[in-house]
Every structure is written in structure tokens, then in C-alpha cells.
Amino acid sequence: MGLTLMEGNEAVAWGAFDAGCRLFAGYPITPATSIYNTMLNLLPPAGGVVLQGEDEIASLGYCLGASMAGRKAMTATSGPGISLYSEHISFALASEIPVVVVDVQRLGPSTGYATKGADGDIQFLRWGNSGGVPGIVLAPVDVADCYLLTMHAFNLAERYRCPVFIASSKEIGMTRESVDLQALERPAPVERARNPDGDEYLPFRPAPGTDVPYFAPIGGEVLSRLTSSMHGEDGYITPDPSQIRSLVERLHRKLIAVVDRFSFHQAHMEADSDTLLITYGVTSRAARRACKQISEQGNPISHLVLKTLWPVPENLIRSTAAAYDRVVVVEANLGQYVREIRRVLAGKTVTFFGSMDGKLITPEEIMEAVHA
């Protein structure tokens, strides 16, 4: 076994590269810049393209154009940039454009503090678009996750034709750690389903038996047409309520109905425990340490680490929590995802601990929250 010393951001870049990403556009911003730096080393020699956008809006715009031309594309930013991405996130959701968006979260609000972490964008990543259509959000815990979840993110973007977010943080992205890359189980790269040759192409007609339309690239033989505006299956703007309803309900359904297929998580279950701790992101690491220390004291608790945050993996959360009277949620903000847990686990006692001061939540703080 040999270990590699790597930053989370570098691992995201390698995951993207190995998933087949060949266009990256970004605007420099701490703590996400080293993704851009790494992509600049990886893509151009491999026939890919890296662009420095004139701003974040442009960066995601370049990705959307490239994606519609058939290329796998990614951008990366932090809080101030994800705010600017908003209009293009809506576009990607509405027009079903596969793209991977990395948010290396920094302590917010606003420009916040560039070199301190938090998980303050978790609800923004779900609701920071006009119209409220869901995307997919994956949350890494460590460098290995940065690599693997980025590969999964590309596969999900291709399979479901949607933006997929990596909710990283300064504490993961800019932390360097040892990882056994050879031991990781890489998913095989997925390509978006193409319209069968010779068939009439309607750009937004779902493929048979699915909620996802076939893809035909802009620039291919078959004419491809898309619009950010309300559209029918033919890709033309339409005022027709039945076509609009069909589109909006399909966009809503196409991810929420299948989240069980990509509910990434780790469950550390202990028999005879009455408490389930739920965490995501870097906080999960302090939580693991806390669980070990609690276990040494003789009353082990169970721990669920969520790596798919949106759509909310409701079945996973419900079934994992079924046997527990008490659920504790800890996150690096003042209470964002706990809202979902309380909604899904209505009737159970859900207690919360969170903080946002630029420091990692400690195992001791989590133990205190568990024993409160």
C-alpha cells in the first residue's frame, strides 16, 4: 500500500479528469482556486479546455455552452461566486444541461472569511435558483470522497441531465491528507444517452420509460435546440399550460423519484443504542471521533453520514432512524439541513448543535450535544 498526499481540491480535479471532464471554466477565488490550478495542469495537454472567466457568471456560461456541444464541463467557486452562479444554475436546471458545480464553501455570509470554512450554503445550493427545481448536491467528508463523489457527480449529471453540486468546504478542499487512491472503487464513466440514429429528435421529449430526454449535441448532424424559457418537448418557448405543467412536474420528479439510486452515505450502526447522530461534510470527522469516545464510555451511539444531501434521501433517513427515539444533528452552520431531518422524521425528538466561527466543530462539542 502506498499513500498519496493530496488536497481535497486536487482530488476534485483528478476525479473530474478521470470522469471525462474536458472543459473547466472558473474565476479565481479562495478557497476554490487550487481546483482551477490543477485543471489547468490536467486538461489542456489532454485536448481539453480551461478558461478563466471574466466573472463567475461567464464561467458557468462557458460550461453550459460546452456541455450543450457535448463536452463534460465543470466549474468551481465559493460563496460569493455561487451567488453569481444563480441565474445559470436556474438555466441548467430548466434546460437540463449536465454540469458539475463545485462549491468550496467558506465562512459566510457575503464575502465572509476566505480562508475559514463552514457549511453555510447547504440550503442555498437547493433553493438558490428561480423556480425551485431541485438539483443534486453531494457532500464529501475527506479527500477520498472529493475524488469519488466528483466522479459520481459527472455520472449523475450525464444520466439525469442536470447540474450536480459538490458541497465541499475550505476544511476539505484546502486540507492535504494521505489517501490510498489505488484502493478506491472508481465508478465507470457514464455518458448521456444519445438520440437513436434516424429517429426524429425532440430535444425535451423524455426517452422511453424515463424522465430524461435524449441528448443531441449542438453542432451535430441533427439540429439541437434549447431555451432557458418555458418550452415544450420541441424546445420552443410555449405559453401552453399543459406543456408547461408537464415540463415543470417532470423536472421536479426526475431526481426526487430516483434519489434512492444515489443516496450516498455511511452508516455506523450500534446495537442497543438509543441515539442516532446525523452529520455531513467535514463535521462527520469530528463526529466519528466523538462516537468512538462515547463508545469507550460504554454507551455507543449510531452515526449516519449523509453524502447525498439533495434531493433529500428521505427513505434512507427514515429507515435508518426508524429504531431510534432520539436523533442529534450537528452541522457547521446555525441550522440548515436539520430542517429537512425534522421534516422527514416528524414525531421524533431531533436536537441540533451547530456553530459558525471559523473553527472546526470539535468532538467534545459533539459529545456534549449528544449528552445534552
Binding site: 502506498g2 456560461g61 491528507e177 489505488q182 449542438i218 418557448i237
Partner: protein, 436 residues
């Protein structure tokens, strides 16, 4: 060849008398005269009446958000260099997308930008745009009287566009103008001045003749800007890439050495910007790998580059590392006042077993740790190398890492003369006068 590339199922729906419709037909004529079929063209548009162009053509089409059309177009063109990518926007898109227009002019990707300038926001009630004359009466009250209209041809030329044209919708040679712009290998900007009968002409007098007179006054220009002539961006980009070496895969380090201590170690570097703290931290992390240990490195520094504290926290552990905040540092390297000050609370928490190496001139808060002052001056080691030299001191003391672990890390991280230089520093500390 088709008789038209216009979309038979989607006839134009512009207001009667709208100049956009004439531009539409001129553009169709230009495409046909170039012998293009729909699948060799992508129309990219944004919001506003010019944003209908993609619908009315039977080509590849992408309609997006206000002012951002050039960004999608660039993404498409870089991935499909053979496609003719034509962007339409109005004077509204020109204003809100100003940064993208400037970027496109500077970049010189082979796109054609048609700005259909009718001096106001037609769809939303005739508000003023970046091109509305101060003397015009529009839907924004007095506001436009206070601002100077933007001269696109001058701005585009100043920003580096190699092909710039200002013309009237009513010029007979509009199809030829458009054809030359599309055929130009590089970024071409064509401002096409027209009339908005829905809004603008209600309170302002504008005619084909007055447009011609305005262009005459501003100076007719249509063609290559010789000072901006240069290689097309996509071609230049691909040419640059040819000589780039493919990146090597991430390398791993096999466990080859036995670390001096087998239990978890936490090492905190407290330094200042410019002391290569982060690099020294990485060296220690790599050294850990060569000793079969897991490693984690968290850094803290200000966004200022050559000022302020620089801190690295390393954890070396025989077990995989979960929580990686520093808890009980076993070694603290006090290398600069800035870092010591930022973590001043750390010192009182250190136990007697903790080792604290104190670089020359660095004052310490009171602490129970074992403090060892370092004499780097006698060894002639510069301040920027103190972090690395401290690792060599630890190796000499047989704490945390061994010299062979350190040298394995240096060989992994550096090469050539830099490797020689860093190895010389380590040798100096290891074999010279004891700095402790």
C-alpha cells in the same frame, strides 16, 4: 441547397415595421450565399426582441439569460471549432453583458456578434439602454438625459476586436456586410442600427435617412481593425496545447522507514508569510508517508501574500485520521511572531511533554512545554528556510521524523538544483554544529 434557413413553422412575430425583421432576412441571405446548411450554424441569443432570432432560424439554437449569450457561444465554439456561431443581442444585452463583450473582444474567438441597436428596451416599455441618446424621450423619465450613450464600435475597437462594423438596417449591402463578418476568422462585432416602432418612434423621430446621417457623423466603419489583427483564439489555444507535457498521475509513497515514534504526533508550525511554512508542512506530510504513517495538513494564512501569519498543522498517525483539528500538539515550531501571536492561546495548554522549538528572535508566551532555542544564525540558515531547517532539527533529535524520512520527502517533492539546495540545508543541520 435550401431556399431559406428561416423556420417555416415559426414565422417572425416582430411588430409591423420592426427593423429586426429586415436583419433576419439579411442574415438568412448571408447564410445562403455562404452555402451553409442549418447544422453548420448555431444561433445564440439572449433576452429581448433580438432573442427571437434563434427561434426563427432552422439551425442549432441556444437561447439563454440576458446578456450572457457570448459566454455560451464561446463554450460551444471551443468545443465545435467548425461550427459558425452567431450571437444576436440588443442594446439591452450589450449593457448588461458588457463584461462579456469586452472579454470577447480581448479574446478573439471566431464568433460573430450582431448587436441590434434600437436605442431602448422594447419589450419592457421603452426604458433607456446604454445606447439611448441623452436627448431622446424614452420610458425612463429624465434618467437618460444624465448619461452618455456608449459608442460600441469605439469600445469594441479599444477592447481588441479585430473586425468592427457600424451599419444601418437599411443599407442595401447588409447581407454582404454580415457575410464578411461571419467569414472573418476572429471575433467580429456588427452594430446594426434600427428602428423600434413599438416603443421608440412613438416619441422620437428616427428614419432610415436619419440613421444614415448619424452613421455619417459618427464615422462609417466596417472592416478589419488592423491594429487588432492577430491569431484567432481557438487556433492559438490549440497550438499552445500541442507543446504541453501531459501531467503525471498523482504519485504515492511506499512505507520504507520506521518513524522514531509510533504514536500519533501533532506538529504545529507557527510562522509568517514568506517562510515557506506550507511547503515545509507538505514535506513533513510526505515524510510521514515514507514512514508508513497517515498524514493530514491544515493551513491557515491571511489573504495577504507576503505579510501576516502562516500556520500549518500536521497530524501524523499510524491510524487513518478522522478529526483533524489540532488537539494536543506534541511539537510546536515557533518560527515568527505573527504565527505565535495568532495562536497565543495554544501555549498555556501545552504539557511538559510537548516540545517547543524557538527560532531566533521569537518571543514566547509562558508555557509548561520544553522550550529549546534554535541557533540558525551560526549555521547561516536564512529565515525563509527556518521551517525546513526545523524539520532537520527534529530529525537530528530523533523526534517525529528521521533524516531518511525527510530526505525521501525532499526527493519526492523537489528536483534539480532546488533539491540540491534543500538537501544542503538538511545536511548543514544534521552534520554541522548542533543548533539546539
Amino acid at each position: 441547397m435550401p431556399e431559406t434557413l428561416l423556420n417555416k413553422d415559426r414565422p417572425p412575430i416582430f411588430c409591423p415595421g420592426c427593423s429586426h425583421e429586415q436583419v433576419l432576412h439579411a442574415l438568412d441571405r448571408a447564410f445562403l450565399d455562404m452555402g451553409l446548411t442549418g447544422n453548420r450554424i448555431c444561433m445564440v441569443s439572449d433576452i429581448g426582441c433580438s432573442g427571437f432570432f434563434d427561434v426563427f432560424f432552422n439551425t442549432h439554437a441556444l437561447h439563454g439569460v440576458h446578456g450572457r449569450a457570448l459566454t455560451y457561444a464561446a463554450g460551444i465554439k471551443l468545443c465545435r471549432p467548425d461550427l459558425h456561431v452567431v450571437v444576436t443581442m440588443g442594446d439591452g444585452g450589450l449593457g448588461i453583458g458588457g463584461a462579456h463583450v469586452l472579454a470577447a473582444c480581448r479574446r478573439n474567438l471566431d464568433l460573430t456578434l450582431l448587436v441590434l441597436n434600437n436605442f431602448n428596451f422594447g419589450m419592457t416599455g421603452g426604458q433607456f439602454s446604454v445606447t439611448t441618446p441623452a436627448e431622446a424621450t424614452v420610458g425612463s423619465g429624465f434618467l437618460n438625459k444624465l448619461e452618455k450613450p456608449l459608442d460600441l464600435a469605439s469600445v469594441a475597437s479599444a477592447a481588441g476586436a479585430p473586425y468592427v462594423c457600424r451599419c444601418s438596417t437599411y443599407q442595401k449591402d447588409l447581407p454582404e456586410i454580415l457575410q464578411r463578418a461571419i467569414a472573418y476568422k476572429g471575433f467580429s462585432v456588427v452594430e446594426i442600427i434600427g428602428i423600434c416602432p413599438g416603443r421608440y418612434t412613438k416619441r422620437n423621430k428616427i428614419t432610415p435617412r436619419s440613421i444614415a446621417a448619424q452613421i455619417e457623423t459618427q464615422g462609417a466603419r466596417c472592416g478589419e481593425v488592423s491594429a487588432n489583427r492577430r491569431a484567432e483564439y481557438g487556433e492559438a489555444y490549440r497550438k499552445e496545447c500541442v507543446s504541453l507535457a501531459p501531467p503525471s498521475r498523482p504519485t504515492h509513497l511506499e512505507a520504507r522507514f520506521k518513524p522514531p515514534q509510533s504514536e500519533r504526533q501533532e506538529v504545529v508550525f507557527l510562522g509568517a508569510a514568506g517562510q515557506r511554512i506550507i511547503s515545509a508542512g507538505e514535506i513533513l506530510g510526505l515524510a510521514a508517508l515514507s514512514g508508513g504513517l497517515h498524514a493530514s495538513q491544515k493551513n491557515e494564512y491571511n489573504v495577504t501574500v507576503l505579510r501576516g501569519p502562516s500556520i500549518a498543522e500536521l497530524i501524523l498517525s499510524p491510524e487513518p485520521i478522522d478529526y483533524n483539528g489540532s488537539r494536543r500538539p506534541s511539537v510546536v515550531l515557533a518560527l515568527a511572531a505573527e504565527g505565535v501571536e495568532r495562536r497565543s492561546g495554544l501555549f498555556s495548554a501545552l504539557g511538559a511533554h510537548a516540545l517547543l522549538l524557538q527560532a531566533p528572535g521569537v518571543k514566547l508566551p509562558s508555557t509548561a512545554a520544553e522550550v529549546i532555542p534554535l541557533d540558525f544564525k551560526t549555521l547561516g540558515i536564512k529565515r525563509q528556510d527556518w521551517a525546513l531547517a526545523s524539520l532537520a532539527v527534529l530529525a537530528r533529535m530523533d523526534r517525529v521524523l528521521s533524516r531518511e524520512m525527510l530526505e525521501a520527502a525532499l526527493e519526492m517533492r523537489f528536483e534539480g538544483r532546488t533539491l540540491d539546495a534543500v538537501k544542503a540545508i538538511v545536511r548543514n543541520v544534521a552534520e554541522g554544529q548542533d543548533p539546539t
